[in-house]
């Protein structure tokens, strides 16, 4: 019954979306006063989705093998946490999660965005209902998560063991909150263009959604990168895999939108520009969903091999994007002109930031889709990887970083003070590091050297906007900006350091032998079999020492029985200066084991930087929320 209840809730939610869409059209056209009804429908629709998702969690928690999805993806012997996580570790379940977040976003918009003009809000809720309707149709017609299996399977097929990892259990929901949070920015933009009210009020309503989505995307990407780093055992932290790009593209668009929406909120400028970015940002979310969920690309993440599903998402994408672009083309010209600004001003710096981010986005987009287009057109099969993305997007990212040192120091509208003087110290740091890089590490690529210098300059420069302010009276949003920019500097320094300083050793060793890597002496003590809840493994014991203390690392090769699979579990030791990363491979007949060791100085800065960026976003969100609350309290 649980599954049927979930399915019924989904059908009902779809019907309410349709009704909400219909009523919102009548309301916007002035034929009917349906403000309260449309808002109520949005809330009920969101709650029904949540109910359906809860039903899915229950059938997974119980391992109800009469549900096809459970039988295909779960197993009674799996640890409970992964039974639950298994609910969204597959195509249908993850799409249900997507729709649930979409529905709840609509509900939250109906409850919290009341300060908007009624026509704008109802038009936006109508857009959100139209989005929900399409994805409900996709779930119900092409990816029913509640389909029954008759007779029930005797046992489930298990879950990809690579996905049985605490980090990964929460990685997809985090990213989805980001992806789908952008749907609200999209709907608000569509609603505002329909109603003709693009102003600071709209920007203030849109900003928390963009910030929230952007925080989740940032954290999701950071966590996903760390997951790939320790779980795949390749020692790399970003592979330009299509699925990674699918999360990077909405992030790039959301980053641009975040900055332009701030201009709209503060200065009432960049109106059409911001609306365009809001449309692009959610388009990139849908492109990402299409890439991942259609199974069209080769990746760990692609479960579906069903071409009709890809076609369905592509059709939805086409309809929504075309409609939004047509609306933009018709309405952009009628928007009132924004407030003017000069060439040297914070607005101009943000325009430049937006342009650079857009170009990077375009490069990533084309590089990700090029293999598909080439195969469709010429039949040739090819892949595009790091050589392309690093060489083409890397220099632009450096330019963006340099802009980042100056932009926050500029005033709105026009800058007449000599701002560059403030940057003397950061510039000195950067120049010193650049000279050292050329002298000490001539083998590093030019991009790496520039990255090191940029990190050294950006870290102090990011804190300059705080100087001369009373720390207690500085608005949280300014703190947030400074910390997020600091995080960008820290991450850039980590990326460049990883590429410049990593040393790698690949060897075959017998127990008792010692291997030297960087400053470490690693003694290979022994190998022994170990067992976990649903796996067995061969575990090596390594004792690493450098000067004083001894660190013990235990890399494993794990074998899972359901489904039969092996994974490498790297053992990583984090110290202040960096990480020692160890992997054990296969034995050979002479009793040797393959060992692959990396010493990666400063590599942890990459994820520390990502976390700081997320923290900065959170502070800014809190700051804006507090100001909005005060404004309401005094109003």
């Amino acid at each position: 019954m649980t599954a049927e209840a979930g399915l019924a809730a989904l059908w009902l939610a779809a019907a309410l979306s349709l009704l909400g869409l219909f009523l919102s059209i009548l309301h916007v056209r002035g034929k009917l006063e349906a403000d309260r009804t449309v808002r109520g429908l949005a809330v009920v629709q969101g709650l029904l989705c949540l109910f359906a998702f809860a039903m899915l969690l229950i059938v997974f928690a119980r391992t109800d093998l009469s549900v096809l999805l459970v039988a295909s993806n779960s197993h009674s012997a799996k640890p409970f946490v992964y039974k639950i996580a298994g609910a969204w570790g597959n195509h249908e379940g993850s799409m249900l999660l997507w729709v649930t977040v979409l529905g709840l976003s609509g509900a939250a918009m109906a409850v919290f965005s009341r300060r908007l003009p009624s026509r704008t809000l109802i038009a936006a809720l109508g857009a959100q209902a139209a989005l929900a309707l399409g994805f409900h149709a996709f779930l119900l017609l092409a990816s029913n998560p509640f389909a029954r299996l008759d007779p029930p399977a005797p046992e489930g097929r298990g879950l990809n063991p690579l996905l049985q990892d605490p980090g990964l259990a929460f990685h997809p929901p985090t990213l989805y909150l980001g992806y789908v949070g952008l749907s609200v920015a999209f709907s608000l933009a569509v609603g505002a263009m329909l109603a003709g009210d693009v102003d600071r009020q709209l920007a203030r309503a849109m900003r928390p959604w963009v910030l929230g989505a952007w925080i989740f995307l940032t954290l999701g990407i950071t966590a996903g990168s760390y997951w790939a780093y320790y779980e795949l055992g390749w020692g790399g932290w970003w592979f330009w895999d299509p699925v990674e790009n699918a999360s990077l593209m909405p992030w790039l668009a959301a980053t641009a939108l975040l900055h332009s929406v701030a201009v709209l909120a503060a200065r009432n400028a960049l109106k059409a520009w911001t609306m365009m970015l809001a449309v692009i940002a959610f388009t990139m979310s849908m492109v990402g969903t299409f890439l991942v969920r259609s199974g069209i690309l080769t990746s760990v993440h692609s479960f579906a091999v069903d071409p009709t599903r890809g076609g369905f998402i592509l059709a939805l994408l086409g309809i929504y994007v075309t409609a939004a672009f047509v609306l933009f083309a018709v309405r952009a010209g009628t928007l009132r002109e924004g407030a003017p600004f000069e060439l040297v001003s914070r607005e101009a710096a943000i325009v430049l930031n937006n342009l650079l981010l857009t170009v990077i986005l375009g490069i990533v987009f084309i590089g990700t889709l090029y293999p598909l287009m080439a195969e469709a057109v010429t039949g040739e099969k090819l892949s595009v990887g790091a050589p392309y993305f690093n060489a083409v997007a890397g220099p632009l990212a450096i330019l963006l970083g340099i802009l980042l040192t100056v932009g926050p120091l500029l005033s709105w509208r026009r800058e007449s003070r000599p701002v560059l003087r403030k940057l003397a110290l950061p510039a000195l740091f950067a120049a010193t590091v650049l000279v050292i890089a050329f002298l000490a590490w001539p083998q590093a690529t030019i991009l790496t050297k520039l990255g090191l210098a940029l990190g050294a300059g950006l870290i102090p420069a990011a804190l300059l906007p705080l100087i001369g302010r009373n720390p207690l009276r500085t608005p949280l949003a300014i703190w947030g900006m400074a910390i997020a920019h600091l995080g960008a500097g820290v991450a850039i320094a980590g990326m460049a350091a990883d590429s410049a300083f990593t040393t790698e050793k690949l060897t075959a060793a017998r127990p008792g032998e010692t291997v030297e890597i960087g400053p470490w002496l690693v003694k290979f003590e022994s190998v022994a079999p170990v067992a976990g809840p649903n796996w067995t493994a061969v575990e090596a014991e390594l004792r690493a020492s450098r000067g004083g203390g001894v660190e013990v690392l235990r890399p494993q090769t794990r074998s899972f029985s359901n489904p039969p699979t092996e994974t490498n579990e790297a053992a990583i030791k984090t110290v202040l200066a960096g990480q020692l990363y160890t992997v054990i491979g296969q034995p050979d007949p002479e009793g040797r084991w393959q060992l692959r060791l990396w010493w990666k100085p400063m590599v942890t800065l990459i994820w520390l930087g990502g976390a700081l960026v997320g923290l900065g976003g959170l502070l800014a969100l809190l700051g804006h929320a507090r100001r909005a609350w005060r404004r309401r309290a005094f109003a």
């Binding site: 490069i363 990887g385 392309y388 026009r414 692959r596």
Partner: protein, 149 residues
Amino acid sequence: MIARPKHQRLVLVILAILAVLGAVLLAMWGLQDRAAYFYTPADIAAGKAAPGRAMRLGGMVEKGSVKRDVDGVTTRFVVEDGEARVPVTYRGILPDLFREGSGVVAEGQLSSGNTFVADNILAKHDERYMPPQLGNQQAEHQAGQTLKR
């Protein structure tokens, strides 16, 4: 210079168009020599692949062909597709699902002696996975089989 509003809007539109054009041009320039083409052993036997260029080789690992060098970390094997065979050398730890008789994609380049020197071996982590280049039917077939079991 304080731009008049009309003027400012025009400048922004032009900038946006230039950004999109710039992205397309940069991407096309970058893709010219940085895309790695996918070849099967038959393609290589037919001389389609140029030595020294980054590429991917996909096929099946020939049964009985996997040999380890004395250094313990270099592996030699043969990738075949029923029509032709290509010897491959790889220095590193093989991925978990690398098996004789199953599908593999190797990233690397062809040496002048027509041996493929791999920098990276991709064998997927999921038994249901097959490189799409090797055909989705097989993956669907296997998935159906396991479900019936």
